[in-house]
Symmetry: C3
């Protein structure tokens, strides 16, 4: 629920204003003046609220929603209940994202340096940045304009953070350069020492990690995810890539632009991903592999070899998804057939 | 080992007092006056200590234990060594839990506000609560009676924590309402922004998350686990549900009451679990699913469809466990048969 | 890239000095006087830099490297480009580790107690230790000589840390005794309460955890990993064992010496590992198992039974790797054959 306790009161908009913000088209122009004072799910929304139908699993909820207005695909209009002002768009979820920006415009970062934060005198903090309580900023760190450094965050010596980036509570950054507009979520660890040991006679000699993590613009690193720094090269995450929670990105990994990496994925050392790669949750990639542009990898896949671009893979070891479906069908059949026999 | 350095000295109890506390029955009433000064494993316990046998894998250790007293099922009494006072019960592990409460009664929380904690003047902290060093409590947060907020914890603006809850070192809470008697363990992240993006032309537009996390009473969230807040609705965890370490609970997930979710499980967005669901370690559930009451899901299962209540499932994709066992047997046979041929 | 911003300037060495440090042999003795001013990957290195070829996947990069010097196996010498001084060794990665110690000698820990750290008066901190900003050291904790306690770390009451250990930013330690020369990386949680509940009628009664975590010497615990303390016994990690990021080690687990545990592995309660066990990423081990010395477990394996020593296992349920390969071949064939039919 959009609780004003946490997010403030939404701006009041009309259906017409939402249409303007989102590019959606009102089915009934007489609804354009209808006021809307917030956003809620199909099940929860009341006559004063906007909802949306994107995933058709929620069609039943749509049919009985009490929402005052709803973003919906043209094809689903016939299923709508009476009384809901319909705004049609090819991409209801995208339109919702835009509408939310209208209801909850991002507040500008209020510059501040909390008295309990420790900022090394040699750090260069843009005067427009905000540093919350208990944050620690090391020597020679650079923090750009309008950055927001959360409570108890640690920014180690020399780290560079581009403008308009946010680092949330309890995260820590070391040996890294971070672009503009990034979000490093709670407890994420960027620039930790990679898992590199040279083993002889059962003894593991730590390999010093003198590389960095280089993060582009508009990158997100999810809560409690870890991104190790390179050994002698860099670990790289390209502009526009988004990484979910509890993801492990090992040393020397290079990730392209615009990738989407879901929760609990693990990418072992030195593996390289192209641009716009999408990886489902809990998938794992071995080290030293190459994954082509626009590869889509199903959740829980296990990748042991290079993957050609523009294909969808699944399974462990990962294969083209059609092949994986046949594998699954075969295994499933084995489970059923023996059932018949027994 | 129960080290007084960490847990203080246990109270001294007699076998009879342990019987009273646990409901277990002494096999030999002459042992009731025997003093017991602590608890240890079957292998480590000496004549002054209590141990227990629940998992019969440890029967060999039981046969030679030097423990002064032991909680045990009636059926295992014949295996006992001489000299150990036997306390029989149908549930030795449950009895151990009760005995531990006798040996180590929970100390009342000593009210305090550490001078290095930062507490916003608008926060409402019950005078009986304890706030440790370096904790940061944001504006309008509410912390109930007898709460214990650990060192370097961050409680963001508006967060509500019910009475007798504990938040351990380094955890962070935002946009959430937490019930009574909860434990949020070290480094857990509750209320982080969900992984929601609307993608167009390869660009990922962040969807503002204006929902909350609503947590019932007596809930546990394990160390370094993550619970994202809802997009426009809420992420919900029902009363009495316990969540292990490194678990990912995505935005809009709804979990019922009394569930048990083991380590490294991942639950994708908007999936709904009934009551008393049990999920084994490293299992993964796709988004927008419904899992019925009392479902048991084996470790490492991968769930892609709805699951009917009151059944045990395993495998990826998850199927009823008898079917999965046949699948495994078939795959195992393939590995062996070819071995014979080769 | 080895950026002086983070790691300082490397010492300048000659090829001859690198040979002395690493035991590698110069192919051409006239190169021994050649100066080398740093380390870089085969692709990035210039004429003043050292590189290495260990994994032959990078043979193509080796053939065209501009590196001034390169550590390489004797067998790969014929592939070398002109102009690179070759240093041959049977273990190039091991030699790299030694060379890095020459270029970047470990700086001695400068003793300090940051004014914003909170150190309980009863804690015993060796005067040679360094305590960073925002760290919290509880009553009766003991911190050894030359230890380095990072920013916003929490060391709870009674914890003992041996000499020359490092605890990185945001980690927390409780109820544990840690040896000498250990590294606890960013956000790791050692000594959190185990996931132990006694369940009756759907209610989960927390079992008090009065055990400890005992960690040997030269152990590494990766970023955001979790190690729960024992219930009434101890969780143990043996000397020389290294643990990667986001690993879960449950209560009462006992791990031997010199083990290697890769990222996102989960080990359930009371399982015991021998010495020199190697576990690949994302593998999972059920509870109460015994894994023999020198077992190697492939990435993503799922272990449900005891494993005999000195063997390599893979799959879920894990089997000897040759058997697993046949299983995979069989499943793969099913995917392909049906493809032919369709």
């Amino acid at each position: 629920m959009a609780d004003p306790r946490f997010h403030g009161e939404p701006r009041a908009l009309t259906v017409g204003e939402i249409a303007s913000l989102t590019g959606a088209v009102a089915v009934d122009s007489t609804t354009l003046v209808r006021p809307v004072t917030g956003v809620a799910t199909l099940a929860d929304a009341g006559p004063g609220e906007l909802s949306f139908l994107d995933n058709r699993r929620y069609l039943d909820a749509f049919r009985v929603t009490r929402a005052g207005a709803c973003l919906v695909r043209p094809a689903d209009v016939p299923e709508a209940p009476h009384g809901t002002a319909l705004l049609t768009t090819a991409e209801p979820y995208f339109a919702l994202a835009l509408a939310l920006r209208g209801f909850y415009p991002e507040a500008p970062v209020e510059p501040a340096r909390h008295p309990t934060a420790w900022i090394d005198p040699s750090a260069r903090i843009d005067p427009s940045a905000r540093i919350e309580a208990g944050a620690v900023i090391g020597p020679d760190a650079e923090i750009g304009a309008r950055c927001h450094i959360g409570a108890n965050v640690v920014v180690a010596a020399g780290v560079v953070i581009g403008p308009s980036s946010v680092v949330r509570a309890g995260a820590s950054l070391a040996c890294c350069v971070i672009g503009a507009g990034c979000a490093i979520h709670e407890g994420a660890r960027v620039g930790s020492e990679g898992f590199g040991f040279a083993t002889r006679d059962g003894r593991h000699l730590r390999v010093a990690h003198v590389g960095r993590v280089m993060i582009g613009d508009n990158v997100e690193i999810g809560a409690n995810s870890t991104v190790d720094r390179g050994t002698i090269g860099d670990t790289v995450i390209g502009t526009g890539t988004v990484v979910d929670n509890l993801v492990q990105i090992a040393h020397n990994v290079v990730i392209g632009r615009g990738c989407v990496i879901a929760g609990q994925v693990g990418i072992a050392g030195s593996t390289r991903l192209g641009d716009r790669v999408v990886i489902g949750g809990q998938a794992g990639l071995a080290g030293h592999l190459t994954v082509g542009d626009r590869v889509v990898l199903a959740a829980r896949s296990g990748v042991k070899g290079d993957l050609a671009p523009d294909r969808v893979y699944a399974g462990a070891p990962a294969v083209p998804i059609a092949e994986w479906r046949r594998q699954v069908a075969s295994v499933m059949r084995a489970g059923k057939q023996q059932s018949d026999k027994s």
